[in-house]
């Protein structure tokens, strides 16, 4: 399989007052195209910092990071923005949708920073909303949507630019357990059918069982990197829920 992410000897230090804090200590990691990786670990273990670097939002103190064949180390602020725009989709714990803005326009946001014509933007946004099961809700504003629907709008926004990877930081942290399985089902489908590499940071061991690879962080180092022999299928779990639960789900 083709390598999407290659990280070598990644070091990240923060100067907290006079005391330097070593957040990442020589992390090396290879993620293949089509991987579904769950990154776990206690707070302060460095997993969020790694996510920021993988998302091209932050730069490492030393070490190299190659994304889809591009060494991102020497890139400028605006060049990194370009990379984020073309290759990465973000899903946040708090959704981060623009208030008083329709679902469709929220999804279009990454395309606003390209040269795409308005008609094509609308078209792509409609397709992305369709693929997360929100067809017909294009004109709804975030306040008119449930938490699960809001997170699905956010996922549509992450995939509207056809990214190589989707980075999700605690994507199920703000929704109930049924909705979280639903979100994971969407992730698995995008991962299997569209070949998008998924990287999910989570506290929840249950969520990690839907990934095919788990990476545990501790004290800025990879403590454990395991490929799961058995990955749970979120769609099957959903189907096995009771008929009443399925009904409730449909009304979400």
């Amino acid at each position: 399989m083709a390598v999407v992410i290659e990280v070598k000897d990644l070091v990240k230090d923060y100067a907290l007052g006079d005391v330097p804090v070593h957040v990442l200590k020589n992390v090396s990691l290879v993620i293949d195209r089509g991987d579904f990786v769950a990154i776990m670990g206690p707070s302060g273990s460095g997993k969020s910092t790694l996510m920021n670097i993988l998302g091209c939002l932050d730069k490492p103190t030393s070490g190299t990071y190659t994304l889809d064949g591009i060494g991102v180390g020497p890139l400028s602020r605006d060049e990194l923005a370009e990379i984020r725009n073309k290759k990465i989709g973000f899903v946040f714990q708090q959704f981060n949708l623009l208030a008083r803005t329709s679902a469709s326009e929220n999804v279009e946001l990454p395309l606003m920073y390209t040269d795409m014509a308005a008609a094509e933007r609308h078209d792509r946004a409609a397709k992305a909303l369709l693929s997360v099961g929100l067809a017909g809700r294009e004109a709804h504003q975030p306040s008119q949507l449930s938490g699960g629907q809001q997170q699905r709008v956010a996922i549509a926004r992450a995939l509207v630019n056809n990214p190589r990877i989707i980075l999700a930081d605690e994507p199920t942290g703000a929704v109930d357990s049924r909705t979280s399985i639903e979100i994971l089902a969407i992730f698995q489908r995008l991962n299997r059918e569209d070949g998008i590499t998924m990287i999910v940071v989570t506290h929840d061991p249950d969520v990690a069982t839907y990934a095919n690879r788990n990476i545990h962080f501790k004290d800025g180092k990879i403590q454990l990197d395991e490929v799961l022999a058995h990955t749970r299928d979120a769609q099957k779990d959903l189907e096995s829920l009771s008929a009443q639960a399925a009904e409730e789900l449909a009304s979400v």
Partner: protein, 411 residues
């Protein structure tokens, strides 16, 4: 272009979300622009009024006064001695190429009687050229002719103030009034000119042929029957003023046999120059008014900066999100800059309308003439847009250089 339209749309939406705040922020610019337009209008109106007064004196005018003679070391002021004569006037008309018209005059105070009314006024003995030189027009009747001057005819042209005081509302043309015990036939009435730049009533005057005035009314100068009190000269154009002045000075020195090194026995004054000084002082006033009003425009700009800074802080997460999904520095910069400029331009447009209304109200209620030029409207508009750019840049820059991670985490 596409991106600019998008930026304007985003900006308008952001401004509509906080209607009250946007309106209050704009108010600063509205007041500033309105103040600039109204104040510059008042200033321009004052300048225009002074210009009209200068026009009423006549254009390209030079005045030659006799006097300033030194006798036994005592220097007398101008006009003290009768050194200018009608012959000087004729010589200037004949020999100075830069001079187009010459009008000699004598003047004096008289009492004039018509029926049971009487009035104290000024008599000027003049020639028909005087009418040309002062740009007089006739309200009724005719000006007297050169034949009247040659014949020392007892005809008079009245100013409007004199007419009002002696005849009331009836037309005096053809009537006979008594000027210093001499009956004169009124042949015409001058169109009113109003106040002179120095504040004199230019219509409180009676014009007589210069010959008649000397012989019958004012009395000829004993030493020199041809002496005149003032010589008004019109140069052939605005550019010829200095040239005409020099030619006259040289000619008069020669005719009066003044040796080199001796002082002139006459005074030449460029009237237009004297009153232009008044005009420029009015212009200084209008610039001053404009400058004071501009201060309020700048204060309005600071209001915009203040609100934009608040807005950037409030929308930190939104900025973080936009940066994360690929907005470049200039995208965020232009978004907030467009927002600030939209505020200031909208405020500018409303301010222009308010300013026009205010200057119309000032003109109506304070009875001041105001003049709003299209240029000052354009300037106010451009200036308000520049205020938006200038005061919007710092907040926009602050937004554009936010750290996306911190911005996303901002509560």
């Amino acid at each position: 272009m596409n991106k600019l339209v998008v930026s304007v749309k985003i900006a308008l939406r952001a401004l509509l979300v906080n209607r009250t705040r946007s309106a209050l922020t704009m108010l600063g610019i509205i007041i500033g622009v309105a103040a600039v337009i109204a104040m510059v209008g008042v200033g321009a109106g004052a300048t225009a009024r002074i210009q009209a007064q200068i026009q009423s004196i006549g254009s390209n005018l030079i005045i030659v006064l006799p006097g300033s003679l030194s006798s036994n070391g005592v220097r007398l002021g101008s006009g003290a001695v009768a050194t200018l004569t009608e012959d000087d006037a004729k010589a200037i008309a004949a020999e100075c190429p830069s001079v187009s018209v010459v009008a000699p005059s004598v003047r004096g105070g008289v009492q004039v009687v018509y029926g049971s009314n009487n009035w104290a006024t000024t008599v000027q003995g003049v020639t028909p050229d005087y009418m040309t030189i002062r740009d007089y027009t006739m309200l009724s009747g005719q000006f007297f002719t050169n034949q009247d001057v040659d014949a020392a005819a007892k005809v008079a042209v009245f100013g409007e103030t004199v007419v009002r005081n002696l005849f009331g509302n009836s037309d005096p043309t053809g009537q006979v009034a008594i000027v210093k015990n001499v009956p004169f036939t009124v042949v015409g009435v001058l169109t009113p000119k109003g106040q002179s730049p120095s504040g004199q009533d230019q219509d409180d005057v009676i014009l007589l042929p210069i010959s008649t005035a000397k012989q019958k009314v004012l009395g000829a100068n004993k030493a020199n029957a041809k002496a005149i009190s003032t010589l008004m000269v019109q140069a052939s154009g605005p550019a010829a003023m200095d040239q005409a002045q020099q030619e006259m000075e040289a000619l008069l020195r020669e005719r009066h046999r003044i040796l080199e090194g001796q002082e002139d026995d006459f005074t030449v004054r460029n009237l237009t120059e004297v009153f232009a000084a008044q005009e420029s002082s009015a212009q200084v006033m209008s610039i001053l008014l404009g400058a004071i009003a501009s201060v309020s425009l700048i204060v309005g700009g600071i209001g915009i900066m203040n609100i934009m800074l608040v807005s950037v802080t409030e929308r930190t997460r939104e900025i973080g999100l936009r940066l994360a999904v690929g907005a470049k520095t200039r995208d965020i910069l232009s978004q907030f800059l467009v927002e600030a400029v939209t505020l200031s331009i909208l405020g500018g447009i409303i301010g222009i309308v308010t300013g026009l209304a205010a200057s119309a109200l000032i003109a109506h209620f304070a009875q001041w003439s105001t003049q709003v030029s299209p240029l000052s409207v354009l300037m106010a508009f451009v200036f308000s847009a520049l205020v938006g750019v200038f005061f919007g840049y710092y907040p926009a820059r602050k937004a554009a250089y936010l750290d996306p991670i911190e911005a996303l985490r901002y509560e």
